[in-house]
Every structure is written in structure tokens, then in C-alpha cells.
């Protein structure tokens, strides 16, 4: 689904920009020197690479769940104000994802319970972050190349992630079902990076940034008995913290907003 959303966004931007490039060119030819602020809609997508958690051994496979997370992608949409062609202030709504290494996850549990049979639910939630990010960039024109180092700060919510697994005494009717649920706290990442483009192609930029945030996870583990309500008290509650560093890169499509 993520690629169809990206394709749709790219299509509408390409069509909108195709209609606007001629208008923008006419605006430039009139050399409106009184124009100080340019506004843009921005859409972007790219890779989201995150550092490994390296959580030490914890009960109920919580460390396995933490350490099995891999890279994902990001999408953002927002607005940008370019002031006097020197300063860029932007506000974006950003969606970042991670994927899960299922082989690492399954092998980890098998090694944790070597004498028992482990079964997993096929569908397992993957983590994502949704929030807003405010960025400030300084634009330098170096031989028609527009280079804009930037810094940013954001506020993100992280979705609840959970997994279930069964520990069965092999070749018998006896088994235990566990569900671990993670309710992470909100994150406030800080980031720095750069955008780069050519002044003739301001409608598309390459962007890259590195960010840091404190990832705080609150795990609750439930031993699900037959007909037991999910709202029974958990059998274990753990806080797992992680210094999260991410690196992302992608393309930004700039849609100039005409007055």
C-alpha cells in the first residue's frame, strides 16, 4: 500500500507542477524584485534507517522483539517558506516506519525455549511514528547549486506494538499463550541534515538528515488463559529505554503556491 500512496502523490505533484512550471517561468521573467517570501507545498518519501536496539536478555522475549526491528521508510507532507531566497522554514507532518526481521524473531524464541514448541501469530504489528517536524535551513547558492544545511525538532507519537506467542509442551495438549503489548512514550527528536538541488530544478530536492530521540517503551505481558479477558492484570511490566538514532534520505517535491 505504501508504494501506491507514493505513486499517487508523485503523480499529482507531477501534473500540478507541469501546469505551474510555465506560470513560474513567467513570474521569474517579470523579475518581481519586491517578492520576498515564496511558499511551497512539499511531499517527500525515502528510506528510514535506524540503529539496532541491542537490548540485553529480558523475560518473555521482549529483548528479541526490540532487537528484531529493521529499517523502513518515511513519508512527509507539509509547507515551506523561503525568505529572500536565503532562509527556509518548513513544517511537515511525518510518518516513519520500521520493519521486523521475522527470521531473527522466530529463531530468537526457538533458542530461548529449546525444549518446547514455539508458535507465533502470523500477523504482528509493526512500529511507526507519526508527528510534526519544524525545520530551519540556510540556503547557499554555490555555482547554481542550492545547498541548504538544516536543523529540526519534532514531536512524534509511536503506535502500540504487540506480539503473541504460544509455548507448547511438544506432542501434548498443554500450552501457554502470552501476549506482550508495548505502549511507547511520545518522542521529541532533534535532527540535522541538508537539502540540495539545482536552481533550475527547484521543484525537486535531495534531502538527508540524522536524528536522535529517547525511545521509551513500556511493555506489559499477559498470560492469556482460555476465556480470560485481555483486561486481566499483566504478569510482567517492564520499561525498556533505547537511544534511537535514525538516518533518512529521499526526494522532496516542491509545489510552488501561487498567490
Amino acid at each position: 500500500m505504501k508504494f501506491s500512496v507514493l505513486t499517487y502523490l508523485l503523480l499529482i505533484c507531477a501534473v500540478a507542477n507541469a501546469q505551474q512550471i510555465n506560470d513560474t517561468t513567467k513570474t521569474i521573467k517579470r523579475s518581481d524584485t519586491s517578492r520576498k517570501v515564496f511558499a511551497y507545498f512539499q511531499f517527500s518519501s525515502g528510506m528510514n534507517i535506524e540503529n539496532s536496539s541491542n537490548t540485553p536478555s529480558l523475560p518473555y522475549g521482549i529483548d528479541i522483539a526490540q532487537n528484531s526491528l529493521k529499517n523502513g521508510y518515511y513519508i512527509f507532507a507539509g509547507g515551506s517558506f523561503v525568505i529572500k531566497e536565503k532562509t527556509d522554514l518548513s513544517l511537515q507532518i511525518t510518518f516513519r516506519t520500521q520493519t521486523r526481521d521475522n527470521d531473527f524473531f522466530n529463531e530468537g524464541f526457538k533458542n530461548r525455549y529449546p525444549s518446547e514448541e514455539i508458535l507465533h501469530l502470523e500477523e504482528m504489528k509493526k512500529p511507526y511514528r507519526l508527528g510534526v517536524q519544524l525545520s530551519y535551513a540556510r540556503i547557499f547558492n554555490i555555482k547554481s547549486i542550492l545547498l541548504a544545511p538544516k536543523i529540526g525538532i519534532g514531536a512524534f507519537v509511536v503506535n502500540q506494538v504487540e506480539y503473541e506467542y504460544v509455548v507448547r509442551t511438544p506432542h501434548t495438549n498443554y500450552f501457554d499463550l502470552y501476549r506482550a503489548s508495548n505502549n511507547p512514550k511520545a518522542e521529541f527528536p532533534v535532527s540535522f541534515g541538508f537539502n540540495i538541488t539545482h536552481e533550475k530544478f527547484k521543484w525537486i530536492l535531495f534531502t538527508s538528515e540524522v536524528g536522535y530521540s529517547k525511545n521509551q517503551n513500556r511493555y506489559s505481558v499477559y498470560h492469556i488463559k482460555v476465556d480470560q479477558s485481555y483486561k486481566e492484570p499483566p504478569i510482567e511490566e517492564l520499561q525498556v529505554n533505547h537511544d534511537r538514532v535514525y538516518f533518512s534520505f529521499g526526494l522532496i517535491l516542491n509545489l510552488h503556491i501561487e498567490e
Binding site: 499529482i12 506432542h171 476465556d227
Partner: protein
């Protein structure tokens, strides 16, 4: 406005396509239960398998319940959440008894529901017999085994001593029908 700009048309196109979703009356299958048979089973692998053995370890014993299906109508759609199956006489409750004394607290003919667990194809899909939950399993929003034609009863509280049992299963359906059948005699060791 005589002409719609292309960018607006492309913007609204996904919403137009999403609205073409089919009517609420679409269905996949309408059926009813019109019979049942039960057999002894053994749970050595990933799920119970019927067996003709007359001696089975109690830690692996299960009862396979097979349901006879009468399909009234078959719709055009695959079974999913928008096109559910329709069962005219759903199972209301179940009762398991034995012709022999099961243990000191469970004489012949008494309810043995608390000794068994309902297994519906997966260890993530189980329920007690007193609060029976039988739902189609799903795979990517499509219902795998949308018409439930069998399920298993796992013995989770075996008798203290080896004993010979012959279990009777009664299914009480919502339309008042009662389906009954008994297993072959089996030694639980």
C-alpha cells in the same frame, strides 16, 4: 466550471474508486448444519488427527467433531468481512459426557465440559466449552475455512488413573435442533 482541471480529477479519483465497494446484501455462502459425527483423535503434531487406536495417552487425547453442511445458496464473492458467511442454525452450546465414571467428581453422565478445550484449527483460536467461540480463521482479510465444518475438543484435565471412556457429544443449535453422536470406546492411559 466547464472544465475540470486534470490535477483535481486525479486528486478525487481514488475516492471515486473507493466508493465503488459493493452492496451490503452481497454474501458468500448461506448454509445450515444438518448432522454431526464424532471420533477419537490424537494431538501429536501441529493439530489433532483422527485415529482408530483404542488406547491413547490422555495428554494427547482429543475428540474430532465433524459437522455435515447443507449449502442453501452460494454468492458471487469470496468470504471476507464485507461478504460474511451466513449460518441459519448456529451452535448455541455443547455438552460432553461419558458412559463411564471419568473421575471421583465426575460420575457417568455428568458434564465433562471443564475437562476439555475447544480447538478451532489454531492455538490462538481456542475457547472453553461453556463459552464456545467458533469463528472462521482469516488470512489477509479473507476467511480461510469460512464454513466451519469441524473442530476439536482437547482433553486438558485427564483422569487421575487409566480408564476406559466412551464420550458423547451433544450440540444444541439456535433453531432448537440437537445433534448427538458418540466416540468409539477408548482407553486413556
Amino acid at each position: 466550471m466547464r472544465h475540470v482541471k486534470l490535477k483535481y480529477f486525479i486528486f478525487f479519483l481514488p475516492f471515486l474508486l473507493a466508493s465503488c465497494h459493493g452492496s451490503k446484501n452481497d454474501f458468500s455462502v448461506r448454509y445450515e448444519y444438518n448432522g454431526m459425527n464424532v471420533e477419537n483423535a490424537q494431538n501429536l503434531g501441529s493439530h489433532p488427527v483422527p485415529t482408530t487406536l483404542d488406547s491413547i495417552p490422555s495428554t494427547t487425547y482429543a475428540i474430532r467433531v465433524n459437522l455435515d453442511i447443507l449449502i442453501h445458496e452460494q454468492g458471487r464473492s469470496e468470504a471476507d468481512y464485507d461478504h460474511p458467511v451466513e449460518n441459519k442454525n448456529r451452535i448455541d452450546s455443547i455438552l460432553v459426557t461419558s458412559s463411564q465414571d471419568f473421575d471421583i467428581n465426575s460420575p457417568s453422565g455428568s458434564s465433562l465440559n471443564d475437562k476439555f478445550m475447544c480447538f478451532n484449527g489454531s492455538y490462538f483460536s481456542t475457547s472453553s466449552l461453556d463459552i464456545l467461540k467458533l469463528y472462521p480463521t482469516t488470512n489477509n482479510d479473507y476467511m480461510v475455512n469460512s464454513v466451519i465444518d469441524k473442530f476439536d475438543l482437547l482433553l486438558i484435565t485427564p483422569p487421575a488413573l487409566q480408564s476406559i471412556q466412551k464420550f458423547t457429544v451433544q450440540l444444541f443449535l439456535k433453531d432448537g435442533t440437537v445433534l448427538t453422536d458418540s466416540t468409539n470406546q477408548v482407553t486413556l492411559n
